[in-house]
Amino acid sequence: MMLRVSNLDAGYGNLQVLRNITFEVNSGELVSILGTNGAGKTTLLRTLSGLISTTNGQIEFNGKHIQKMQPENIVKEGLIQVPEGRMLFTEMTIRENLELGAYSSAARKNMKKNIEYCFKLFPILKERENQMAGSFSGGQQQMLAIGRALMAQPKILLLDEPSTGLSPLLTKQVFDIIKEIKQQGVTVLLVEQNAHQALSMSDRGYVIENGEIVMSGTAESLLQDNKLRESYLGLAN
């Protein structure tokens, strides 16, 4: 087991968003988290990365309890996130953004190699390596955010709606890249609105609503679920 979350509560100040969340991700799996707008998916990922402190419950990653760890140490453990809103260093160049992705000492060793890898995945990053990240188009910024996360050599990669703002072509590419990353042995936790596509490449999925996990199962079973088809996949039966 790579990641096990049990009875997790978290939120912002007085506002509790996550209630009693329990789930797990096995090594090498690709797990999707679905949920309506404002359900708490982003909050969950932020909590996993240590940006939000838990009020209750446990997060176990590779056998270590990480719920009290600082974000940077969680990164060192290999839990990497492509955050919602991208959180790029807008007044720094593309290249610098990528370099900073490899800040931890382990990743720094392979920086050159990994940059080349990112450049191969997203050629636009190479073309514009000296442009300021802030002047990138929305989709270009999304590519950079994914690239920066890959620079950290994740053991588990958390992706918060990675296809947001990407063209259909790129969306496909990004999903292909996710598959490829998985192939390489990286575990992936994926939050996506494009539920159909996400589930179709996932092993398992969880549905979160109002901060609670209300449903879980294998990808196939979820794809077949009637309620889910209606309210998430937009497919009336």
């Binding site: 912002y12 506002l15 679905l34 309506t36 707008n37 404002g38 982003t42 919602e84 809103g85 636009i124 002047s135 990138f136 188009s137 929305g138 989709g139 270009q140 999304q142 590519m143 709606e161 947001t164 703002g165 990407l166 063209s167 259909p168 072509l169 790129l170 969306t171 496909k172 590419q173 609105q193 494009n194 539920a195 159909h196 209606e230 309210s231 998430y232 996949l233 937009g234 497919l235």
Partner: protein
């Protein structure tokens, strides 16, 4: 009737031609979609028409009047309202206050502005968020507020930049209905979106940009069959 006519519009950034000699029209009552690969120049085109960038060349006629060179606020006053791809919230204000700012575009009294704002929040279906602080909202909700805010300025034309990204498919379906209703209330719409289902469902007409140039413009079904479009934007075939 031609409401908005973009002619030969070109916008450059230090060596990069982000928008290259683009011609486009928006007719009254129409919904026009704009798609294209990331970095094609769609947002830049919006910025240029709405006065946030000064294009190097070209003209934009609104109701027959040249609006290039006008400040964004004048363009809003003229009747073009917009949302932003990268949300631009008034973070420390409540949702209602955000929309009231928009409502004050035409209203003078606070009472009227508040009424108009509440009305629009209701229309977009986010009245329950009225008293939340804008910066505490999720991105998709912030985008909804931006739509309400833009509508509150009582525009004739609405520019929407990827307002549906981050919504799940069911929510997208609701939003599609919403946009149709807005059009039916007499507002013409020009929107950028990457969600093909929404694009196809909404567009009366569809334009495609690639590397700054407009490479197609016409009936959505037809446009989506053009090989260059397929290649540049969709990759392989249409689903």
């Amino acid at each position: 009737m031609e409401l908005l006519k973009i002619k030969g519009l070109t916008k450059r950034f230090a060596g990069l031609v982000a928008v290259n000699n683009v011609n486009l029209t928006l007719n009254k009552g129409e919904i026009v979609g704009l798609v294209g690969p990331n970095g094609a120049g769609k947002t830049t085109l919006f910025h240029s028409v709405c006065g946030f960038h000064t294009p190097e060349e070209g003209s934009v006629k609104y109701n027959g009047k040249e609006i290039i060179g006008n400040k964004p606020e004048h363009i809003c006053k003229e009747g073009i309202a917009r949302t932003f791809q990268i949300v631009q919230p008034f973070g420390n204000l409540t949702v209602l206050e955000n929309v009231i700012v928009g409502a004050f575009n035409r209203e003078k009294s606070y009472k009227e502005a508040e009424r108009l704002a509440l009305e629009n929040l209701d229309l977009i279906g986010i009245s329950s968020l009225a008293y939340s602080r804008m910066k505490d909202l999720t991105f998709p909700n912030q985008k909804k507020v931006e739509v309400a805010r833009a509508l509150a300025t009582s525009p004739e034309v609405l520019f929407l930049d990827e307002v549906m990204s981050g919504l799940n498919p069911s929510e997208v379906n609701e939003f599609i209905e919403l946009i149709k209703n807005i059009r039916d209330s007499g507002i013409s719409i020009f929107f950028i979106e990457h969600l093909m289902s929404a694009v196809m469902a909404l567009s009366d007409r569809l334009a495609v940009m690639h590397l700054g140039e407009k490479i197609a413009d016409g009936d959505p079904q037809e446009v989506m069959k053009i090989p260059t479009v397929v290649e540049a934007y969709l990759g392989e075939e249409v689903s």
